[in-house]
């Protein structure tokens, strides 16, 4: 982790990381507003991927975060989130890199969807091995909005994890809601306890304030 990332961590802490209680009562107006607004995925129209690409991204995301005793990526709408982000949030270069990566993976697999799950997973692991020197893996390279130089496999993993942890399903059925109403700093961590869900991703929008320095 470099100093800037550490510092940004600290800056964000000043404000707390914002966890949403399941049962927190919103004011009537807020309920109306948010209710009318609905889920992000219900508001977007997806037109970027072909049917085959959709199936491929769905298979890849489920291999990354599978359904276990808790819901997995497909249950949580991760494939739709990925398509929405690649089409509307990525810049042109990032989108081109993602689409190229997806096409190359399919070509290399000689039809990704024709492979069985073990082979599909091995292909993802191979991509990750080949990207081993990417900055994306550097410890602490997380307190930024986005790593525009991330290789395709890293773009894909990050979107998958965000799409899962920030989804209603991931936040409520995998992560734990933070009980609100009081602060208690001396709570025993239970062996199976998961971290609290978060309201907005803890990412600084800050530009670099100093040269990065590795830990």
């Amino acid at each position: 982790m470099n100093r800037r990332e550490f510092l940004q961590c600290a800056a964000l802490l000043t404000a707390g990381s914002g966890v949403v209680p399941d049962t927190w009562a919103l004011t009537l107006e807020q309920q109306t507003y948010l209710g009318a607004r609905g889920s992000y995925l219900d508001r977007v129209t997806l037109t970027l991927f072909s049917g085959e690409q959709r199936a491929m991204v769905a298979a890849m995301s489920e291999l990354t975060i599978p359904r276990t005793d808790t819901p997995g990526a497909i249950d949580a709408g991760v494939p739709q989130f990925i398509e929405a982000m690649v089409s509307a949030w990525f810049n042109d270069e990032e989108r081109a890199n993602f689409m190229k990566g997806l096409a190359e993976l399919d070509r290399r697999a000689n039809g990704y969807l024709r492979q069985d799950a073990d082979q599909q997973l091995a292909l993802l692991e191979a991509l990750e091995d080949e990207a081993s020197d990417a900055e994306w893996f550097r410890m602490g390279n997380t307190m930024r909005i986005w790593d525009s130089n991330a290789p395709f496999i890293c773009q894909f993993k990050e979107l998958t994890i965000l799409g899962f942890m920030l989804s209603e399903t991931g936040a409520r059925q995998f992560l734990t809601p933070n009980p609100m109403g009081a602060f208690d700093g001396s709570v025993s961590l239970q062996p199976e306890q998961r971290t609290y869900s978060t309201q907005t991703p803890m990412r600084s929008v800050s530009p670099p304030i100093s040269a990065a320095e590795d830990l």
Binding site: A10, V20, E29, W89, S210
Partner: protein, 568 residues
């Protein structure tokens, strides 16, 4: 010339942030009919806090910041920790409302653009100044002395604290006087351990719970904090002090308040003698309609930079260098608090967790140059640390290798260590070369001359910044940190980023060297009071908002008495 549709009020307050809200409350409660002019758009307390408790999955891009929008419209505001997808609507649009920085001398001007101003977005840390702070300039022979001492302002601190509601722990420190406190917030287990270790090993270092304007029990009809976390989305239970939750409702309750949003004040117009404001000229930021309002008293609370802009833009033949600026001090001596971060990793208490999000940290009060110059200090004045505790989670470790159930489970677990981050906040000296000016030609979309900023830290600040690292290392070692990261002085914040900009219309006894007298009244213009950060003659190292509140309340008390006695 604006149309002559002037309306008579007893007092006009420019700005509705922390200072403006207090001015409005105090003036209306004394029976004056008050007009508050706010540049920003109107929002209603509670109802318009649209990001409060919003779920990530309801937000566009699940709350990931819209990079294009940030780059085009919020390039200055976006380096604040408090700017989020859920509260963009409170912030100044840098594209629509720009200013100019001097190359190589950056100054980051953080502005709100709503009724309530930055009181919605502030860090809520509240510390009294000490007598030593008010005597610092005189003692060190720096610039001009303060025209008053701690004793004079002390009752006003108590007065504003009693209304605002400040939680904290009494410590009995002379150099950081206690406020009238509500109970302090609770500690994380790690913080208890750190406090015990540090106070045992380092005699001069005290650790206390952050003092903040967040309620720990019901206070004046406002609910205690429910620990949801991000206060700066707005708090419909009014658990933190803001103009929206506290002072404006009190002012409204008197029936004496008129508040007009979208009113940019372009100029103050004075009488022939040049010693009284007779009109406040405004431009409607939506319709561009120009209007003019008048009142017996004018309270300028637009924030340091904006108030300075208004005064400079009100220059006339009798005030050629800007209104109330015979001294030439107006716009000079800009200060901010420098910020610099250090942190340590702790493996204590891996089996402990927490419930709720505490919107507050620990505070390490100034311990350098107390009462006398420390022998090993190559700087004057000092600093305090604000310290925060973090248990890392998937958000700081998602870039790990692997796929499948193992990755999923790993991402779901809290990290194996804690981070304790110490933010040094240090005093900045007043330098004449640090300035706010108006551009001679360039204007904004309303025809108002653009602000030009010029700011740089001095040697003293760089030396203090270096010392924050030296002392932080001692503290982190004593605290039991296994690994620490210390910032170098050149990594301190840029000017303005502390959002404690102040000092451009300083107060003093000598009208030849200051803009305001000790009651925040302009030496040259009897019905003009400036009570935002502009009045500050030095900066101390503690967060300034509480001091602005106290001086504003005191200035109103004085102004109304003067008005009633026919002195204004």
């Amino acid at each position: 010339m604006p149309e002559n549709n002037a309306t008579e009020f007893d007092a006009i307050v420019v700005g509705s942030g922390i200072s403006g809200g207090w001015a409005a409350k105090e003036l209306t409660e004394r029976g004056l009919r008050v007009l508050v002019l706010e540049r920003g758009k109107n929002i209603e307390h509670g109802k318009d806090y649209i990001g409060e408790h919003a779920n990530s999955w309801n937000l566009d891009y699940y709350g990931m910041p819209d990079r294009e929008l940030i780059a085009s419209d919020y390039p200055i505001q976006s380096d604040s920790y408090a700017l989020m997808a859920t509260n963009l609507q409170y912030w100044n649009n840098d594209r629509l409302n720009p200013y100019l920085q001097t190359e190589g001398k950056p100054f980051s001007w953080k502005r709100a653009d709503v009724v309530g101003g930055r009181s919605l977005l502030w860090g809520r840390q509240t510390y009294r100044w000490s007598d030593a702070d008010f005597k610092a300039n005189a003692r060190d022979g720096i610039q001009i002395p303060w025209p008053l001492d701690y004793k004079e302002i002390e009752p006003w601190y108590s007065y504003v604290e009693e209304f605002a509601g400040i939680s904290g722990q009494e410590e009995g420190l002379e150099h950081l006087p206690d406020s009238k406190f509500l109970p302090p917030m609770e500690y994380y287990e790690l913080e208890k351990t750190i406090k015990k270790r540090v106070e045992k090993k380092l005699d001069n270092v005290k650790i206390t719970m952050g003092r903040c304007a967040v309620l720990t029990r019901e206070h004046k009809g406002r609910a205690p904090c429910h620990y949801c976390g991000p206060c700066h989305n707005g708090c419909s239970t009014g658990s933190y002090f803001s103009s929206q939750s506290s002072t404006l409702p009190a002012a409204r309750a008197t029936g004496n308040l008129t508040l007009l949003p979208n009113q940019l004040v372009s100029k103050l117009v004075h009488n022939d003698a040049g010693d009284k404001i007779v009109a406040v000229n405004t431009i409607d930021t939506v319709s561009k309609e120009q209007r003019s309002f008048s009142a017996k008293l004018i309270f300028l609370c637009a924030s340091t930079v904006a108030s300075t802009q208004i005064l400079l833009n009100s220059a006339s033949s009798s005030h050629p260098n800007g209104l109330a600026n015979a001294s030439g001090a107006l716009g000079k001596y800009v200060m901010d608090h420098g910020m610099i971060g250090h942190m340590g990793m702790f493996v204590d208490h891996p089996d402990m967790y927490f419930k709720g999000n505490r919107p507050n940290g620990l505070y390490i009060p100034r311990f350098r140059n107390i009462g006398r110059q420390d022998e090993d200090a190559d700087f004057i004045r000092g600093y305090g640390y604000q310290a925060h505790c973090l248990r890392p989670d998937w958000q700081t470790s998602f870039n790990q290798r692997g796929f499948g159930a193992k990755l999923k489970e790993s991402l779901g677990k809290p990290g194996s260590f804690w981070i304790w981050a110490m933010g040094g906040f240090f005093e900045c000296l007043p330098y004449e070369s640090n300035q706010i000016r108006l551009h001679p030609q360039k204007t904004d979309r309303f025809g108002v001359p653009l602000v030009v900023t010029e700011f740089d830290w001095g040697d003293n600040e760089r030396k203090i910044a270096a010392d924050t690292a030296t002392q932080a290392e001692k503290i982190l070692r004593a605290a039991g940190s296994l690994y620490h990261i210390l910032s170098k002085p050149e990594q301190m914040s840029v000017g303005g980023a502390g959002i404690h900009e102040m000092g451009t219309a300083r107060m003093g006894d000598d009208p030849g060297k200051s803009v305001l007298n000790k009651y925040n009244q302009a030496h040259e213009v009897s019905n003009l009071f400036v009570t935002d950060g502009s009045f500050m003659t030095s900066a101390s190292c503690v967060n300034p908002s509480l001091t602005y509140m106290a001086f504003t309340a005191r200035a109103v008390d004085y102004a109304v008495k003067q008005l009633n006695e026919g002195q204004i």
